[in-house]
C-alpha cells in the first residue's frame, strides 16, 4: 500500500492545493491516492463545437454514382466520390456508405489501368484517394489486399510520402 507514503511525499513537495490533471486518472497509484490529497475540482469543460469539422458537409449522391458505374465510367465515378467525400462529417454511417462506394469503384478498375486512373484524378483529390486505400486495408475480407497494394504503389508514385503523412495526421478522415 503506497498510498500513505505517497500522500506524505506529495504534501511535502507541494504543500498546497494541487491543480487537477486529468491524466492522473490513468495512473492507478495516483488515482488511489487522490481522495487523500487536496486537489482542486476538475473543470467540467463544456464541449465546444469543433471548428474544423461539421462545416461544409457534403456526401456523394448514390444515384449519381450508380449512373456513372452503369455507364462503365469507373474513373469518373471514383473522381465523383472523391470530390464529395464526407471528410468533415461526424456521422460514421455517412462515411461507411461513401467508403463502400469509393472502394467498390476502385476494385472495378483493372490493375493495368490503375496507373492511368491515378494520373487522371486531380492532384487535390489524391490525398483523399490515399485515405480510401488505407480504409480498404482495414477490411481485407471485403477488398482485395493485392489490388489495394497496387493502388497504394501507384498513388505513392504520384504523391510521394507526403500523402501518407497526411493520411495519418489529417483530422478530416474518411
Amino acid at each position: 500500500m503506497i498510498t500513505q507514503k505517497f500522500v506524505n511525499k506529495v504534501t511535502l513537495e507541494f504543500g498546497r492545493l494541487i491543480e487537477y490533471d486529468h491524466l492522473w486518472e490513468d495512473n492507478p497509484a495516483i488515482k488511489e491516492a487522490m481522495p487523500h490529497l487536496r486537489i482542486s475540482k476538475p473543470e467540467i469543460k463544456k464541449k465546444k463545437k469543433d471548428d474544423d469539422l461539421s462545416t461544409n458537409v457534403v456526401e456523394p449522391d448514390e444515384n449519381e454514382w450508380k449512373r456513372l458505374i452503369d455507364d462503365m465510367k469507373y474513373v469518373r465515378a471514383l473522381e465523383y466520390v472523391l470530390q464529395n467525400a464526407p471528410v468533415r462529417a461526424k456521422d460514421p454511417d455517412k462515411k461507411k456508405k461513401a467508403a463502400s462506394m469509393a472502394l467498390s469503384t476502385m476494385m472495378k478498375i483493372k490493375t493495368s489501368e490503375i496507373s492511368d486512373a491515378v494520373n487522371s484524378i486531380p492532384v487535390p483529390l489524391r490525398d483523399t484517394l490515399m485515405k480510401y486505400v488505407y480504409k480498404g486495408f482495414e477490411n481485407p475480407k471485403d477488398y482485395s489486399s493485392s489490388a489495394l497494394l497496387t493502388w497504394h504503389e501507384k498513388v505513392l508514385a504520384a504523391t510521394g510520402l507526403g500523402s501518407i503523412v497526411r493520411v495519418l495526421t489529417d483530422r478530416r478522415t474518411v
Binding site: V123, P124, T159, G160, G162, S163, V165, R166, T169, D170
Partner: protein
C-alpha cells in the same frame, strides 16, 4: 563550402551562436546549456550552464547585449548574462506556467523575449529594472494547445506563435514600459499587448515552425502534414499552400523577402520560392545536391560485391537524421548568406548560399 561540425552522438535539440560566431551554445537533450568555443580548429567546452531541472528545449543568444535565454521542460526559463567570466542566471517570472516551456526567442532589439509553453501560454518578457527580474505579460487569448514555435517581426512589436491546435496567430507584443510608441505595421494597428491581429489555419497539422521574412511583409510556416504555408501582409486573407511529396518539415527560415528554406525529416534543406502575386510556392532545389554526387561514387564501390548488388546505393546526405533547427549564420544587409542546421546525430552544418538561385 559546407562545414560540418560534430558534437558527439547526442541530438542537438537547440543551438544559438554568439555575435561573431566563435562560440555556440547547444542543448544536447540534457539539463544544461553547453557553450563551446572554436579553438585551433576544434570545439572546446568552455562553459556549462546548469540550473534547469529538466531537459532544455530552446536556446536563444542575443548578439548585441550578449544574453542567453534558455527554456526547459521544468516549467522555467532563465536569462543568463556574462559577468566576470561567468554566466549568471536571472530570474524569469512566468506566471502560472505549469508545463514545459517549448520555445524562447529574443526580440530584434533584444529588450524583450517571447516564450511559448505546453500549457497553451504565450508570454512576452521584459526586464523590471526596479525589482531586478524578468516579468512576463501573458497573452489572454490563448491558443488551444501547446505552443510549439514563436517568431518576432522586425519591428520588435509583433510576434507570431504556432501551436498544436493547427493555428498560427499574430499577436501584438507591445509592452508600454519598454517600447516607446506603438508602431504601424502592414499586419494591422498595434494598440495593446496581446491583441490578436490574425489567425491562420494549417489544414489539420501541428505547426512545427513559423517565420517572418526579413522586412516582415511575408509570413510562412510548416506543419506536420508536409505542407508549407505562406501569406503576405498585402493580402492576408489568402494563404498559399504547397502540398509537398516529402516527409514533414520541422523548421523554416526566410533567406530573402521571397525565398525560404525548409528542413526536417527529409535530410536535406530545400529551397522554395514564394511568389505572392502568382499565389505559389515553387520548389527551387535541394541544398544538399553537391554532396550526393560524391557520396554516390564511394557508395557504389562499397557495394561492388555480388551479394550486395541487389541493393540500390543511396546517396549519402550530409545530415543523416532529422534536422531539428535552422538559424541564420551570416547576413548580408537583409538577406541571409549562410545558415546553420542541426540534427539528431550531434551535427551542426553550415551551408553557404552564394551561388544558389535565391531571389530578392
Amino acid at each position: 563550402m559546407t562545414e560540418v561540425h560534430s558534437f558527439g552522438n547526442l541530438p542537438v535539440i537547440a543551438h544559438a551562436w554568439n555575435k561573431d560566431r566563435t562560440q555556440i551554445a547547444v542543448s544536447l537533450g540534457k539539463n544544461d546549456v553547453r557553450i563551446y568555443q572554436k579553438q585551433a580548429g576544434k570545439w572546446r567546452l568552455i562553459h556549462t550552464l546548469s540550473e534547469h531541472l529538466s531537459r532544455i528545449l530552446a536556446i536563444d543568444w542575443a548578439p548585441t547585449t550578449n544574453r542567453i535565454v534558455s527554456a526547459s521542460a521544468d516549467y522555467n526559463a532563465y536569462v543568463w548574462s556574462f559577468e566576470n567570466n561567468v554566466w549568471k542566471q536571472q530570474m524569469v517570472e512566468l506566471q502560472r506556467t505549469s508545463r514545459a516551456v517549448c520555445c524562447a526567442k529574443w526580440s530584434p532589439n533584444e529588450n524583450k523575449f517571447a516564450i511559448g509553453s505546453s500549457d497553451k501560454n504565450v508570454g512576452i518578457c521584459y526586464y523590471e529594472t526596479e525589482q531586478r527580474f524578468w516579468a512576463a505579460e501573458m497573452i489572454k487569448k490563448k491558443p488551444k494547445s501547446t505552443v510549439t514555435c514563436i517568431a518576432w517581426h522586425p519591428n520588435n512589436q509583433l510576434i507570431v506563435a504556432g501551436s498544436c491546435d493547427y493555428r498560427v496567430r499574430i499577436y501584438s507584443a507591445y509592452i508600454k514600459a519598454v517600447d516607446g510608441q506603438p508602431q504601424v505595421s502592414s499586419w494591422g494597428t498595434i494598440t495593446n499587448t496581446g491583441d490578436l491581429l490574425h489567425e491562420f489555419q494549417s489544414e489539420s497539422g501541428w505547426i512545427h515552425d513559423v517565420c517572418f521574412s526579413p522586412l516582415g511583409e511575408n509570413l510562412a510556416w510548416v506543419s506536420h502534414n508536409s505542407i508549407i504555408f505562406a501569406v503576405s501582409a498585402k493580402n492576408s486573407s489568402r494563404t498559399t499552400m504547397e502540398i509537398t511529396n516529402y516527409l514533414p518539415f520541422r523548421c523554416i527560415i526566410f533567406v530573402s523577402e521571397s525565398t525560404l528554406i525548409v528542413a526536417g525529416h527529409e535530410f536535406s534543406p530545400l529551397i522554395y520560392n514564394y511568389d505572392e502575386r502568382k499565389d505559389s510556392i515553387d520548389f527551387v532545389e535541394k541544398l544538399d545536391q553537391q554532396e550526393t554526387s560524391t557520396g554516390k561514387q564511394a557508395v557504389n564501390r562499397l557495394f561492388d560485391q555480388p551479394s550486395m548488388q541487389t541493393q540500390t546505393p543511396e546517396p549519402i546526405s550530409t545530415h543523416q537524421s532529422m534536422i531539428t533547427q535552422m538559424l541564420p549564420y551570416q547576413t548580408d544587409h537583409t538577406n541571409i548568406v549562410k545558415i546553420s542546421s542541426t540534427d539528431l546525430f550531434g551535427q551542426v552544418v553550415i551551408w553557404n548560399l552564394s551561388g544558389r538561385k535565391i531571389k530578392k
